[in-house]
Each structure stands twice: as structure tokens, then as C-alpha cells.
């Protein structure tokens, strides 16, 4: 069969979100050089518009779904879901970043360019259908976020966050890559669906030991990227040290894309040998929940507390993965969407309250917030209640579907221990609310300025999303349920 290396228009449409994001990101860096100093807010507006256009293109590509570039990519419901999710998360992050960068005096095109490059990588991770493509997407996303974590390069906390993120991220990438190499050596192909076919076929003569070793290496890399135990130790330092809007981005975008990759590798390639994975995932899920929740109890820094909370949430999603069923995959997808809204919302409030130079990020600095800024206190409470999993918020249905999927897969003990963990989590989320409403404001805190329009819009959008998913989860869940079986 002759192979054409000229992409067809159809293939270009299927790849168009990534193309658009990369082109606009490059243009932003070039535009900055010729821009008048006063007109830099246009950079944020351009990045915002590019992400909105990428969502539209993802939807357009989904209308004509199928593989592209010799099956290296596949546009299906699953990839469309995650493309839209990471682009929407990117839009919220751009909204909260614009004012932050102005406040810190670091407004520039490269920040938005890096956000867009990273999101292009994440879109690629969501739609790749081949191991090397997954790795390229992962690295596009990671390398851009290493720079973002250390964006304020004169800030010692930023430096440290970037260094730790870079070293541990590259370490994890090496494991992931070594896993790819061994899997390729065992199967002779890097296409996910082909590997699945060979694993199902006993006459293919695949060396099971080599496949297990490769699976273990891949698992190490993936666990690092989703900050699952025992490879979660980078997350608290990085989220605490990175600029607050970047921490919001890191806790949502790369994590959702890494889970998309995890789901695709697990459900497409390793489902035939799922029984071997179950005990490992079971342990990882439980350890991640316990470490995240119990470490969060002692934190006094709000960003660090949210970092441990995000580790715990990675644990809940891993519970859904352990179920290794379509319902589990759909629950994980729904949870990641709900988590994106509430976590970016919480970080947006922290971004605002932290003040110039992020001097006020201790829990004590939130004392009496209900009097200093009633609206901020109220909206942060909404996000915290949703993170706890209170009914009428997105977090409730997120947890509900995950534990239901776990019960359906006969993982009764894991579901019970997960529920107990959510009860522990309620303690530290409610503690923040108590501090905001019951404690006297500490002396010497500066007056809180009114929130910038970007922050207000981001908060309104994420709060509205949190409520809508808490009342009508089927809006997102139906789509997730319909696209989860496509992984096979």
C-alpha cells in the first residue's frame, strides 16, 4: 500500500487544535518584540481567544472523528473530552494570570506562549494513539511547565520549585521512556491497539516478563506525572514555590492530561492483563489518598495544603482507574472535570488574597476573610465544600461516581477506605472555612483591593460550573460514559 506523507485536509482538521495553539504561541513571542509597552494586556486576550478557538476546533474535529497521520493520533470522544477540558482550564488560568503578572511586574508574551505550548502538548497527550507520540506530548507539556514553575526568575521560591519540578519530572520521563523501549522490544510495535491485539493473542509469543517490567516502568513514570504515591513528593514543594496561577495550572492541566494518558495506556493496552495491575493500583490509590489527606492536616501554608489536597484527589481518581471498567473511566473523566473547576477556583482566591509578592499565603492570613472580603470568603467556601464532596456541588457527584464504580468492580474495601479518607479531608477543608469566618483578622494585614475583572470572571465561571455539575452532572457524565468504551 503506498503511503502518502502529505497530510490530507481531514488529518489537518483532526490535528488543528494543536496546530493553532503552537502557531499562536510562536506569534505571541514574536509580537511581544514589536509591541508598545502599554498594550501588553492584548497578549492575554490573544491567548484567551486562541484557547477558545482551540475548543471550537476540537469540537469541529470531533464531528469528523477518526485517526490521523498513519494512526499516530486518534480523535475520538475521549480525546475530545480531554482536549476541551485542558483548553477550558487554560482559559481560566489565563484569566487569573493576567492580573497576577501585572501585579508582579512580569507581564510578557512568553508566559502565555508557554501556557499555550504546554496545552498543545496536553492535547497531544489526550489524542496520541502511539507510545512515542504520547512521550512527545508529555515532554511538550512538561518542558513548558518546568519554565512556568520558575517564571519569576528572581524569586528564590520560584527557582527552587522549577529545579525540583525539572529534576524529578525528567527522572520520571526517563522511566516512562525506558518502559516504552522495553514494551516496543517485546511487542515490536508502539501502536497501542496493536500491542493490545498481540497481548490478547497467545500465539503471538510475547514475553510476559518483559511486558511486566515495561508496565512497571511505565507505571513509575505515570505515577510521577499524576503525583500518586510513592512518587508524590515533588508536588507540595512545586505548588508552594511556583507562582499561584501556575500552581493552579499545574494541579489541573498536566494532571488531567497525564490521567488521560494513564487511562488510555491502561484501558487500551493493559486491560487484557488487568488482573496483574489491580493489586498495584489498589495499593497506589490507597497510599496516595492516605498520604495526601493526612499530610494536609498539618499544613499551615494554604498553597501547600492545596498541594496535598491535590495529591489526595489524584488518589480518588486512581480508585476509579483501579476499577478498570468503562464506568470507572467515565467516573475518572467526570471527576477530573469537576476537580479542574473547583481547584482552579480555590487557587484563584489564593492568588488574589496572597497580595503582591505572595506574602500572605499562610492559613493565618485568611483569618477573618469573611469581614475583609465577604465575597471572596463565600466563594472560597463553595470551592472547599465542593472539594470536600458536599451535595449540590460538583465534588459530590465526582466522588459518588468514583466510589460507585469501585463498588461495581467489587472493590468494596477500597471504596470504604476512600470514603473514610474523604471524611478526614473534610477536617482540613472545613478548618479553612472556620478560620475565615470565626477567627479575628490578624493585625497588620493590608486592605484587600477589589478583585481584577479577570479573577472575577474566573471565579464566577468556576463557581457556576461547580454548581451546574453539582445539580445536573449528566451534562458531562453522559458524554464521558459514551466515550469511555472507545478506549478499547
Amino acid at each position: 500500500m503506498p503511503v502518502s506523507f502529505i497530510p490530507t485536509p481531514q488529518e489537518l482538521l483532526r490535528f488543528s487544535p494543536e496546530i493553532l495553539l503552537s502557531v499562536v504561541a510562536t506569534a505571541l513571542m514574536l509580537a511581544e518584540a514589536v509591541m508598545k509597552p502599554g498594550s501588553r494586556t492584548k497578549l492575554a486576550a490573544t491567548a484567551f481567544a486562541a484557547l477558545a478557538a482551540a475548543i471550537a476546533l476540537s469540537a469541529a474535529a470531533a464531528a469528523d472523528s477518526g485517526p490521523a497521520f498513519s494512526n499516530l493520533l486518534v480523535v475520538d470522544g475521549f480525546s475530545t473530552f480531554f482536549r476541551i477540558l485542558v483548553c477550558a482550564a487554560g482559559m481560566l488560568v489565563v484569566l487569573i494570570s493576567s492580573n497576577y503578572l501585572k501585579r508582579e511586574g512580569h507581564e510578557s508574551g512568553e508566559y502565555y506562549a508557554l501556557v499555550l505550548f504546554s496545552i498543545a502538548g496536553q492535547c497531544l497527550m489526550a489524542s496520541a494513539n502511539e507510545l512515542i507520540m504520547l512521550f512527545i506530548g508529555l515532554e511538550c507539556s512538561s518542558i513548558a511547565t518546568y519554565v512556568l514553575a520558575g517564571y519569576l526568575r528572581d524569586d528564590r521560591r520560584n527557582n527552587e520549585a522549577a529545579l525540583k519540578y525539572f529534576l524529578l519530572g525528567s527522572f520520571a520521563a526517563a522511566f516512562f521512556l525506558y518502559g516504552i523501549s522495553w514494551l516496543w522490544g517485546a511487542a515490536g510495535t508502539t501502536y497501542l491497539t496493536e500491542i493490545r491485539r498481540l497481548l490478547l493473542d497467545p500465539s503471538a509469543g510475547i514475553n510476559a516478563t518483559v511486558v511486566s517490567a515495561a508496565a512497571a516502568l511505565l507505571l513509575v513514570g505515570l505515577a510521577f506525572k499524576v503525583s500518586a504515591a510513592p512518587f508524590q513528593m515533588w508536588a507540595p514543594d512545586v505548588y508552594q514555590g511556583a507562582p499561584a496561577p501556575v500552581a493552579a495550572f499545574l494541579s489541573v492541566g498536566p494532571k488531567a492530561a497525564a490521567f488521560a494518558m494513564f487511562l488510555r495506556i491502561l484501558m487500551t493496552v493493559f486491560a487484557p492483563v488487568g488482573a496483574k495491575w489491580e493489586p498495584v493500583l489498589w495499593t497506589v490509590a490507597l497510599a496516595t489518598m492516605i498520604i495526601g489527606n493526612f499530610a494536609a492536616l498539618w499544613q499551615t501554608n494554604v498553597k501547600r495544603l492545596l498541594a496535598y489536597s491535590s495529591i489526595a484527589h489524584a488518589g480518588y481518581v486512581t480508585v476509579a482507574l483501579t476499577a478498570m471498567s468503562d464506568a470507572g473511566a467515565a467516573a475518572a473523566m467526570f471527576y477530573l472535570a469537576a476537580y479542574a473547576l473547583m481547584n482552579i477556583g480555590a487557587f484563584a482566591v489564593v492568588t488574589h488574597v496572597a497580595g503582591q509578592g505572595e506574602r500572605h499565603v499562610e492559613l493565618a492570613d485568611l483569618a477573618g476573610l469573611s469581614r475583609r472580603s465577604p465575597a471572596m470568603a463565600a466563594i472560597l467556601s463553595v470551592f472547599l465544600l465542593s472539594l470536600t464532596g458536599v451535595p449540590l456541588t460538583a465534588g459530590f457527584f465526582g466522588k459518588f461516581y468514583i466510589f460507585k464504580a469501585a463498588l461495581d468492580a467489587d472493590l468494596v474495601w477500597l471504596a470504604v477506605l476512600g470514603l473514610l479518607n474523604s471524611a478526614v479531608a473534610a477536617y482540613y477543608y472545613l478548618r479553612i472555612i472556620v478560620v475565615m469566618y470565626m477567627h479575628e483578622p490578624s493585625q497588620g494585614l493590608p486592605e484587600l483591593p477589589a478583585a481584577a475583572p479577570g479573577i472575577r470572571w474566573a471565579l464566577a465561571a468556576s463557581a457556576a460550573g461547580t454548581f451546574v455539575l453539582g445539580v445536573a452532572p449528566s451534562l458531562v457524565l453522559d458524554y464521558a460514559v459514551a466515550s469511555a468504551p472507545l478506549l478499547r
Partner: protein
């Protein structure tokens, strides 16, 4: 050169290349965890990536499939991009703290 390739292919079994690759990878991973100088730690990561490249090439020879060579080029490109970003980050750390000892870069709470 052609003779040398034939000799290597004929007399050095594939497993030796793979064992060498595992040894390199383990040296890299152990160095990452044990060494305390940031540049050395970074070099250990490069060592791990080179171990991956060696295994790609060895498998490529075994499977009689040239894809592995392409993959190792991808790995090299990514490693180069990573090195550019990584060295820049290490440079800013050095500028702010005047040290490259990893234990001294720990102002964030553990």
C-alpha cells in the same frame, strides 16, 4: 567498519547490549538519588536517557526494524530541549543562591 559491525552482530549477543543498557540506567537512577551536586544529578538523567537509546538501537537490530533509530533521534531531540531548559533553571538557581549543592536548595518546607 562494515567488518566490525558484522563481528559485533555475530559475536555479541543481543542480551549483552540490553544488560549494558540496564546497568547504565541503574547507574543513572542511583546517581540521581545519591549525588548531591545539581549538575551531576542532571548528568545522571542524561545517562538514563542514553541507556534508553542503547536499548532502542539494540531492539531495533533484534527486530530488524529501523523504527528504533528514529525513536532514538526523538529521544535526543527531547533530551536537548530538556538540557536547554534545565541548564537555564540551574543557572538561575546559582545566580540567586551561589550554590549547586542540592541540599542547600531547600527553603520550602518539607
Amino acid at each position: 567498519m562494515a567488518d566490525l559491525t558484522q563481528v559485533l552482530a555475530a559475536e555479541v549477543p543481543l542480551s549483552w547490549y540490553l544488560i549494558l543498557s540496564v546497568i547504565l540506567f541503574v547507574i543513572g537512577a542511583a546517581g540521581f538519588l545519591i549525588r548531591r551536586n545539581i549538575i551531576t544529578v542532571f548528568m545522571c538523567i542524561e545517562l538514563m536517557l542514553n541507556a534508553v537509546n542503547l536499548s532502542f538501537i539494540a531492539f531495533s537490530h533484534m527486530l530488524k526494524n529501523v523504527d528504533g533509530h528514529i525513536y532514538s533521534f526523538f529521544v535526543m531531540v527531547v533530551a536537548a530541549a530538556e538540557a536547554a531548559v534545565g541548564l537555564a533553571i540551574i543557572l538561575t538557581v546559582f545566580k540567586n543562591r551561589a550554590t549547586l549543592e542540592i541540599d542547600e536548595v531547600s527553603s520550602l518546607k518539607l
